[in-house]
Symmetry: C2
């Protein structure tokens, strides 16, 4: 769009610009200036402070300076220290860490792949070991390939799988409006593909990266073995490489795939959750948790997964402090270690001795990327849910679209047993799987305003719950 | 997030991933599988075809291959030809152009700026002439600087403005949830700053770029002269350069600014709107227009402003054709020339002789960037609006959040006199002013899924109106 009405006749274009600006003001979700009682003024103040100060982005940049934060890594421990110091510098109370024993898988330094075809020659292919995989022998695995799109197809192949590298080449379905269910449909091939490959007599599993993008960046992620089934190595290849391999196999069914990885699973190590809080003025032992997970995969520093959630949780509490609000209940940031490799941080937080004497009222997690927030999912039913739903106009006044029934997140799930209402921030998902578990989940993929809008919504929700209970 | 439940016991992490996926499915706006009668199946079919085929992104890539499309430029004319050919190849009916006479301003090849300070030395500053500006003399303009944040501040400065370069340094307000009103607040300084500078006795105007980003990329945009006031040259500088200049002026109020531009306004030229349609099966003379503007600024190819709207409009009609739908009324794509430099294309379309015998029922424009669509603004009142509001659940089933009262766009505004209901697609605005009128409004800033979701929504709306009227 274009020009600006200066309110004077004789300006050739004033009509057009006036139309543009007027229509934009009229229809867009700008309602921070029309607060809803009784927390309307608070909501507006949170928005104004957040959007002006952009604290979430600053915290995220600081966190990402630690690098990728795979559980057990030196970077993960550096991030623990960094975030504890940051929360202290922000003036949070009771900043501390709590131990949690985490898995320690390392990628190693050798990852190589290629297609060997009599017709197409040697075609190099980037491979990335899946988290938890064993390494190939030092000389690699080389075998003919069986391409399948599902576990059923693998089962139906019967003996044809024997001695083969099983190539799970199922693309994410682009027709879902929300990309998470599309991920959910195919993530099992990555997670369990190696077991099923071995069960069918295969010698290894390679998996098409779980992204809707067409590029040459392989995404990693978890896989898992079954104690009853031999362990075969598993790796991902990029979507473009998967398409190319499929084409080659159509033209040359005898083509072989060859890859080498040097990953290893070491002994578990003691790592830490990081916590900081605003002590409740009236009911300090009633806790509202807000958090994300501090660990990430190792290919990039996990800006969206889940640096964003950690930064937003810290920012939400910083905003409550910044405005001088004195919550009745305690608001606690928890940065959970080890969401990606087993969820031990969330479980250990919930069952820690330190929880005795505490009552967890509610917990809000952000672990779906730092994109434009659309709503908050609330895991409550009946009258309890209705109470949250009544806040919807208030949240709409600060840019969210809705409050809906929904879940929380992996890290806070263990708090359900203690009676906490679990909530999850729900941002738009269109871009999430571009970066998820990839080599490009970096700070430049995060928009500071989108990130802050999430933090602002989280600040309001935790403050409301700290004041009003559930 | 992480792992996938394989539905088998013994898998250590299955509980965590099951929780994650279940909660994602529960709360996200995934309802394409739950169609709303009577157009629910059509809506679902449009989504599935659109998200699978990603036609909007393909059309956008083609359009941007023409380069920046400033009115009067060879690239703009090339884009006319390119889009006409593209619509013919897509099978659109009655593909044609209609003439419109447009302004022809050219930037020239010299743009240089610097601060001259006894204390800080010579500090180079990127400048970009504003569209419509006269050039500086060949030797440039060099003068002391008066920094102001508003026209009022300029007026209050009185004689202090005399002989100065007036530096309009008002930042966009980051606290608006919607960035358009924030733009609306300051766009007048860019558009009318040169006139007010000259009226106050100033020798030139330089304007802080209208973006919420902090970077060194100056944004251009329109400016305009008043026939009663001397013409002084106007240029923009980046937000970082504006901050730096302001700092220098605080420390060294005598610092001068110097800049040279070589832009020129040439004689108007005849350009063209581009049209193509699906002829209505029952009421061919009743027209539903869908469009965007084909021209852009010259610093980049205008991917979001408004290549996106053009591509979405074409894609919306392509999807209606793709599904074999036979609309009762005629659906017409119009790619309007010259939104940025006067809106002549929209006016000439509305008053063309060719409109005789046609009745324009409604028009839908997309000119707010190709970002995640949130809703559609509909310029109707009372019962007429209620009829559109009744479609809201249907649009929510394909990912939109709402139907609200609102306006259309600059190009379709002249159709209001003919009784057309004007509508505008409203995407999220958080990222728009990063790229708007800048050197970085390029294809890589567009997410194909976000773009397509807009096109899908537009396809459904134009089809509904073509079937049901207003």
């Amino acid at each position: 769009m274009t020009r600006r009405d200066r309110g004077k006749p004789g300006f050739r274009w004033r009509h057009a610009l006036a139309l543009f600006v007027a229509s934009a003001v009229g229809i867009a979700p700008l309602r921070a200036q029309q607060p809803t009682p009784p927390y309307g003024d608070t909501a507006t103040a949170i928005v104004k402070a957040g959007m002006r100060q952009q604290g979430a982005y600053k915290t995220l940049a600081l966190l990402l300076s630690a690098g990728p934060r795979l559980t057990g890594s030196a970077q993960a421990e550096a991030a623990v220290e960094l975030m504890a110091r940051h929360m202290r510098e922000l003036g949070f109370e009771n900043v501390r860490t709590e131990p949690t024993t985490v898995g320690h898988w390392v990628r190693g330094d050798k990852e190589e792949g290629r297609v060997l075809s009599t017709r197409f020659g040697n075609v190099p292919v980037k491979v990335r070991a899946l988290g938890g995989s064993t390494a190939t022998p030092g000389s690699g695995v080389t075998a003919p390939v069986l391409e399948v799109r599902s576990l059923d197809e693998l089962k139906q192949a019967g003996d044809k799988a024997r001695g083969k590298i099983i190539f799970f080449n199922r693309a994410m379905d682009p027709t879902f409006l929300d990309t998470f269910p599309s991920y959910g449909e195919v993530a099992g091939l990555r997670h369990g593909g190696a077991v099923e490959a071995a069960r069918a007599g295969g010698v290894a599993a390679i998996v098409r990266s779980l992204t809707l993008e067409s590029n040459d960046d392989p995404h990693t992620g978890s896989m898992e073995y079954d104690p009853a089934v031999p362990r075969v190595p598993a790796a991902s290849i990029s979507t473009l490489a998967a398409d190319r391999l499929s084409e080659i196999l159509r033209a040359d069914p005898g083509a072989r795939f060859s890859f080498t990885t040097s990953c290893r699973t070491l002994a578990p190590v003691v790592s830490h959750n990081v916590m900081g809080e605003i002590r409740g003025a009236e009911k300090p032992d009633e806790i509202v948790v807000v958090g994300g997970h501090l660990d990430s995969w190792d290919l990039s520093p996990g800006a969206h997964d889940d640096g964003a959630g950690c930064a937003q949780a810290i920012e939400a509490v910083r905003l409550v402090r910044e405005l001088g609000l004195k919550p009745r209940r305690t608001i606690r940031v928890v940065l959970f270690m080890d969401e990606e490799n087993g969820g031990t941080g969330g479980r250990d937080y919930a069952r820690s001795e330190n929880r005795k004497g505490e009552r967890h009222v509610a917990a809000l997690e952000a672990d779906r990327g730092g994109f434009l927030p659309l709503g908050i999912g609330v895991g409550a039913r009946g009258a309890a849910f209705d109470r949250f739903k009544a806040y919807e106009p208030l949240f709409q006044s600060i840019g969210l679209q809705w409050i809906r029934p929904g879940g929380g997140g992996v890290d806070i799930a263990p708090l359900a047993d203690a009676g906490a209402v679990l909530m999850g921030l729900v941002p738009d998902s269109q871009r999430y799987f571009e970066v998820h578990h990839s080599g490009i989940d970096t700070l430049d993929k995060v928009n500071a305003r989108e990130l802050e809008l999430g933090a602002v919504s989280m600040a309001l929700m935790i403050y409301l719950v700290a004041q009003e209970g559930v």
